[in-house]
């Protein structure tokens, strides 16, 4: 199946055409709150890339081998006669399981960073707890289930979505930085203006939608 080009296409789609923030509105809370400062935006952007790339494949494995319909069929070889697991469908548990995996992974990544890379921890550490409840992470896992990606596609998709978030938040932070000295109507300042700017960014990203690899 297409090989490399297929994955490149998923990647560009996730970064530009179906950008997780600008086209699917995920992760907007932290997107709006943190984009006031460029340094902080780079920090949270990188943290989202790391966490999304790790959690999406892990959730894929859990979904594929524990939760989806017929996934427990491998148990049949263990307890051969009494039970038949080939029709067990645990997919209603996916929300609870995914969010717990995300919360646990965020905690693990934080501990790893603290142990092995103090400088990275200092720059990203404070953003990691925030990310556990960032909808773009859970959204990535849920989209992966809905679109029936395989494991490599999930990995590429997770990484691409993270990069898309990174680009969008850094772009918005830079625009807001420039706007600091402009004369905006006082009651439009802050979130209102950020909304309109995001709309413009989203329009700009729509220009990529003609690209087809």
């Amino acid at each position: 199946m297409g090989g490399f080009e297929h994955y490149l296409s998923i990647f560009t789609k996730a970064v530009f055409i179906e950008n997780i923030v600008l086209a699917y509105f995920l992760g907007l809370c932290s997107f709006l709150a943190i984009s006031k400062k460029i340094d902080a935006s780079v920090g949270i952007g990188m943290a989202v890339v790391v966490v999304l790339t790790i959690t999406a494949p892990i959730n894929w494995f859990i979904y594929e081998f524990l939760l989806s319909k017929g996934a427990l069929v491998w148990l049949n070889t263990l307890f051969s006669v009494q039970y038949d697991f080939s029709n067990t469908d645990l997919s209603f548990l996916k929300l609870i399981v995914f969010i717990s995996v995300i919360a646990a992974m965020v905690q693990l990544v934080e501990m790893f960073m603290e142990r092995f890379s103090q400088s990275l921890y200092n720059s990203l550490g404070i953003f990691l707890p925030l990310i556990a409840v960032n909808c773009s992470i859970l959204g990535g896992s849920l989209f992966m289930v809905e679109r029936e990606y395989n494991v490599t596609e999930t990995m590429v998709y997770g990484f691409g979505s993270g990069v898309g978030f990174f680009l969008a938040i850094v772009a918005l932070a830079s625009v807001r930085y420039r706007l600091r000295y402009s004369n905006i109507p006082p009651r439009l300042r802050g979130v209102g203006m950020a909304m309109l700017l995001t709309g413009l960014l989203s329009m700009a990203f729509m220009a990529f939608s003609g690209i087809d690899l």
């Binding site: 996916k94 409840v133 859970l138 849920l142 009651r187 439009l188 300042r189 979130v191």
Partner: protein, 217 residues
């Protein structure tokens, strides 16, 4: 009527007006925009959020004395996630078309910051009846904004107004053919994602102008 004293009224009214979760506290915007393409989606989403918000507030408020402060986030998340799973299953059972349209966004109610925010800021500090009213008020405040946004997006973007029913939605109003013949056109941009950002930005601006609230930056 003990329930409707002035304090309870304030608990319900504040989040609809001066302390609106979306336009003033800036919480829960993620799911707010994605479901505003059509009015019926916004109405169903509002009902789902009100249900989850009220129940999670009441449950957490009842058990608030037994939750150790250190693990409260995990407990909040698991209560909310269970409630959202219930809503998801109910939608799939009784409103299958709607649950297909809302796709992942029902699941994303879990990470809707309004619900975590109200649990943390209100339910863990107040009794169940107050927590219920707070949930109701915030749910209505959320619903008001997304219903306004979806009304404009659907009317000017697609030229219809759709109300929820058991199936694909009941079309209450659609712009007559004669208008299109006379040269009227739908604004296609409003149905796409940028439209949602623009309309919400304008709604936030209007509401702050009406209430006279400014944000320092």
């Amino acid at each position: 009527m003990e329930i409707f004293n002035s304090e309870s009224k304030k608990i319900i009214n504040d989040p609809i007006n001066v302390n609106n979760p979306i336009s003033l506290q800036v919480l829960g915007i993620c799911s707010a925009l994605a479901v505003t393409i059509r009015l019926d989606q916004a109405i169903i989403m509002t009902l789902a959020v009100i249900f989850v918000l009220c129940s999670s507030n009441v449950i957490l408020s009842v058990i608030r004395d037994y939750i150790p402060a250190r693990v409260r986030i995990v407990i909040m998340l698991s209560v909310i996630a269970s409630l959202v799973s219930v809503v998801d299953e109910l939608l799939q059972a009784y409103l299958y078309d709607m649950s297909k349209q809302l796709s992942v966004f029902v699941g994303l109610i879990i990470t809707n910051c309004i619900i975590m925010g109200r649990a943390e800021a209100f339910a863990l500090k107040n009794g169940p009846s107050k927590a219920f009213l707070d949930g109701l008020g915030n749910g209505l405040g959320y619903g008001m904004i997304i219903i306004i946004v979806s009304f404009f997006r659907e009317l000017f973007g697609a030229g219809t107004i759709t109300l929820p029913d058991g199936g694909a939605g009941y079309v209450l109003f659609s712009i007559p053919e004669a208008w299109y013949a006379a040269g009227y056109e739908n604004i296609g941009l409003l149905v796409l994602s940028p439209g949602a950002f623009f309309i919400l930005g304008l709604v936030i601006w209007t509401q702050r102008e009406l209430l006279g609230i400014e944000e320092g930056e």
